[in-house]
Amino acid sequence: MLDAQAMAQISETSVAVELETSDMTLNIGPQHPSTHGVLRLVAKVDGEVITDVRPILGYMHRGYEKISEVRTYPQVIALINRIDWTSGYANEIPFVVAAERLMGIEVPERAQWIRLILTEMTRISAHLLFMGSFPLELGATTPLMFALRDRERVLDVLESVTGGRFHPNFNRIGGIKPAAGAGKEQKKLTQDLPAGFFTETEAAMDGVIASTDQLEKLLRKNEIFVARTKGIGVLPPEVALSYGVTGPNLRASGVPYDLRNETDYLPYDQVDFEIPVGTEGDSFDRWWVRLAEIRQSANIVKQAIQKVPSGPLQAKVPKIIKVPKGETYVRAEVPKGVMGYYLVSEGGQGPYRVKIRTASFSNLSMLPWILEGVIVPDLLAVMGSLDFVLGDVDR
């Protein structure tokens, strides 16, 4: 008598003999131009059709959660800038808010509004990068150049305030850092932003909106772009939710979930904006949602400029920051999705434990699901449409 295993083995062998084909194992990455860092995919391909894909993570693990335990709070802010290097400023917000909540600090309104403006500008710059990198994976190089050119305007404004293009390190617990060179009196008053900041920002936002129009014109009705993205890499909403996908990827699947509307870490309730959602959940929708979000963010910034009150930038905080014993979890909508910090404090100068929930990690976790059955050229197109950053995945 043959047992089931032997039977299966025999039937498999006979199939192999009949067809005389074999799968090829294609190792993509960690050094591959299109994996946005050092992601490694081990894909089984039958011809060009992918039958199985296994992402291997950890090439970019920098141990930020562990390092945070031996750093003081201001030092941690500098670290977490580097988690998702395309949106350094937005990463700071949830951590700083978590620490402030544990300390019971009320952040001055002006600081909150400036935080909001800079966060949205970071979102614009991160999405503009995607506007360039995604068509690049489809072989179109020109959108990348246009997007980078226009992103530079935003980064210039960001740099004029914070001194950094990618890693502003601008938040302080209790508020924001006073601008460089501001005198003792001015620190407390309104002269914190560089002269002409509001007009420059407004002009930059107009430029951004014009640039989204240009990018849309270049690609939206381009037949090849549509053929490469419509109906490719479809992510149904229930699958997206079950994998914990957040951010534009989730909204492209038709779920209007945006933390900016649901929590109060920044005064988003005082500005008007829409949440763009997709209908199909395919690569095209993911591109389209991000493009629409750039416009929304530009509008948010324009509104916020009108609403920034005058007042202090910093709440009263002790010289040496010690967070009282306790734990809290703060989430925020960063460009890639939901980012959360579970902060445990034992009352010291640094956190006792920080658990970081990053958007890219959850968004990446459904790669095996979404990539099964696609073909090799679509593999990278779909991955590109998910817009993850490996630093955000591995931390």
Partner: protein
């Protein structure tokens, strides 16, 4: 002197030397044009410093750099095949120059073959064999996929290209490229007017044959890390590189000859101006320039198609269109 120029062998050697010189020069000019034009399309400056002004020496510097590089052959590679693949690609590109007429008569063409266009179509496919060899021998999975994609592309695009040419041949009643140009002078119009459909099909097929965007799947740097080129370095890579630009030149030249009147001055017939034969190369170069510009323009504007979409496009659209074009042309030819 007279007798020297009538000696077959001396003339042949002279012509071949000219071709051998023309290939790198045309490659350099087109390469530089591509660098500069793409830069201006993308809000960049492009090469600027090499050579003093406007970076005109950029590609020469690149070429010198390639010759200094170590010639790496992967340990697992099929050595002879790996070595000769780039040479085959370049030979195919150079051989195409043989039949391109730069002026009337036999003086400005290497060989005025009776089957000129047939020869050109046959030789242009040889380059793909070189690409397939490169992909196969590199012992690299990405190269292999790239090489096989190139082979699939060849099968898909050779047919529409031949079909589009047949329409021109029916009108001109000859396969000699000189003859086709003379037929256009006789007609008083370039064949792009009666054969507009064939021109579009030919141009698309030529883009696919050259593996340029939107049909650059065999290279596809974002998917296959440059496909069959992945393992090549140094001067062997340079051969592929030069072959690509030389191919652009020759395909533009063939398209200009078949459809745009070749060396015949554009529109001169309309004004009744007779232009001496020696201006032929200038006119042909102008037409080539226009076509090359369109190729560059396409390359830097569009994304890349997918391999299966390309096959669909070729078999479901271009082949039927090409066949219909032949039928219509033949019927018109018989009727009028």
């Amino acid at each position: 002197m007279e007798s020297l120029l009538e000696n077959f062998w001396i003339v042949l050697v002279l012509k071949l030397l000219t071709v051998a010189l023309l290939v790198p020069v045309a490659g350099l000019i087109i390469g530089y044009a591509e660098l500069k034009i793409s830069a201006h399309m993308q809000a960049r400056v492009g090469p600027y410093f090499a050579g003093g002004r406007y970076g005109w020496a950029q590609l020469i510097a690149d070429g010198v750099k390639f010759f200094q590089k170590e010639d790496i052959i992967p340990a697992e590679a099929d050595r002879p095949v790996f070595k000769y693949a780039p040479i085959l690609v370049l030979i195919s590109a150079v051989s195409l120059f043989v039949v391109i007429p730069f002026g009337p008569g036999d003086a400005l063409v290497v060989r005025n073959l009776d089957l000129g266009i047939f020869f050109a179509l046959a030789i242009s496919s040889v380059g793909t064999i070189g690409v397939l060899m490169a992909g196969w021998s590199s012992a690299n999975k990405y190269s292999l996929i790239g090489g096989l994609r190139a082979a699939g592309q060849l099968i898909a695009y050779e047919l529409p290209m031949v079909l589009s040419v047949i329409g021109v041949v029916i009108l001109a009643e000859t396969m000699s490229l000189n003859g086709i140009v003379e037929a256009q002078i006789e007609w008083g119009m370039p064949f792009v007017i009666p054969q507009a459909v064939a021109f579009v099909v030919f141009f698309i097929a030529a883009l696919a044959e050259m593996s340029r965007i939107p049909f650059d799947m065999p290279i596809a740097e974002s998917e296959l890390t440059t496909g069959y080129l992945t393992e090549y370095t140094g001067f062997r890579f340079l051969f592929f590189f030069l072959g690509e630009f030389a191919n652009m030149f020759t395909f533009a030249a063939i398209a200009a000859t078949l459809f745009l009147g070749g060396y015949a001055p554009a529109g001169a017939e309309v004004f009744g101006i007779t232009i001496p034969g020696l201006t032929g190369p200038i006119w042909l170069s102008l037409k080539i320039g226009v076509l090359v510009f369109v190729m560059i323009w396409t390359r830097w504007t569009w994304p890349r198609l997918r391999e299966d979409q390309l096959q669909t496009f070729a078999w479901k659209w271009l082949v039927p269109i090409g066949l219909a074009n032949i039928v219509v042309t033949a019927v018109m030819k018989v009727l009028f």
